[in-house]
Amino acid sequence: MGFRNLGLLGSFAKEGLEKAFSLGKFFCFLHVTDTYLVTFVVTSGPSMLPTIDLIPTMFLGERISTRFGKVTRGDIVIIRSPQNPRKLIAKRLAGMEDDTVTYISNPDEPDKQETIVVPKGHVWIQGDNAYKSNDSRNFGAVPYGLIQHRLFWRVWPIKGFGPFWKH
């Protein structure tokens, strides 16, 4: 009697393990797509107004151009914050390496402009909302290696659904 129960348990365990393996394989596939191709990204906050709204907005972000170095000035990217490595921030690339960037460090004084050359291997990021954005004007140029995704399609809210480049 005991042996029969053991047999049943064995078959349950085997089935459970098989299901777990299928799930594992599925997650591996999902993860590889996420890391190398395309993933969903949710942004929130006022620093990219009026391009990106305040409310949580979902985008598709791709990693192919970032890996091959094909992101350019004007692209909106997700980048790991140099001040807090656990935070991801969405900003616009205002300058690539070796560019000369002229910016206004304090929007209340539009006449005080500063110029800086972006060092090699770095990029200059700026939020579209100059008043409410913590970006390269505060913490300087950031290394290119911190760029995670490039946003190229808006998914949610539905009325904004569509391509999201050349803004």
Partner: protein
Amino acid sequence: MKLVSYMSQWRGIAKEAMDRTAIAVKFLCCLHITDTYFCSPTHVYGPSMLPTLNMVGDIVLVEHVSQRLGKVRHGDLVVIRSPLDPKRCLTKRIMGMEGDTVTYFDPMLGDATRVAVVPKGHVWIQGDNIFASHDSRHFGPVPYGLIQGKVFFRVWPLDCLGVPGQ
């Protein structure tokens, strides 16, 4: 008549090819997950970490768990993406965490020691061989987010098997 038999043969072959490819893809996905999240082997070379790591090249195991959990500390050997060239990875030792005051010595700029404070979210990296290393003494502190993993074991050459020395 012959066409139909050819097509059915093709279907069998195509199905078998798809099955084999699916197995290969699943295996590669699992390998990739292990590589990215747990442990991966890396070939490191160059003179900047003498005498800890050899110049001609070592194969070391790098684990990717500690940096995600924020457990990387002063004195750890890490693999970090270069701030000057995003396609290259460097292997250096962490000599200062955020908020630390680092005192360093650059033999190429004379005998004076200099002092730097590591800003928030950044680390200070240095190679063990200060005479032949291009590191934070030249390009400043680097953001923590560039750390890829921590070196914890050396597997090649075989007579240096083990934890790389302090």
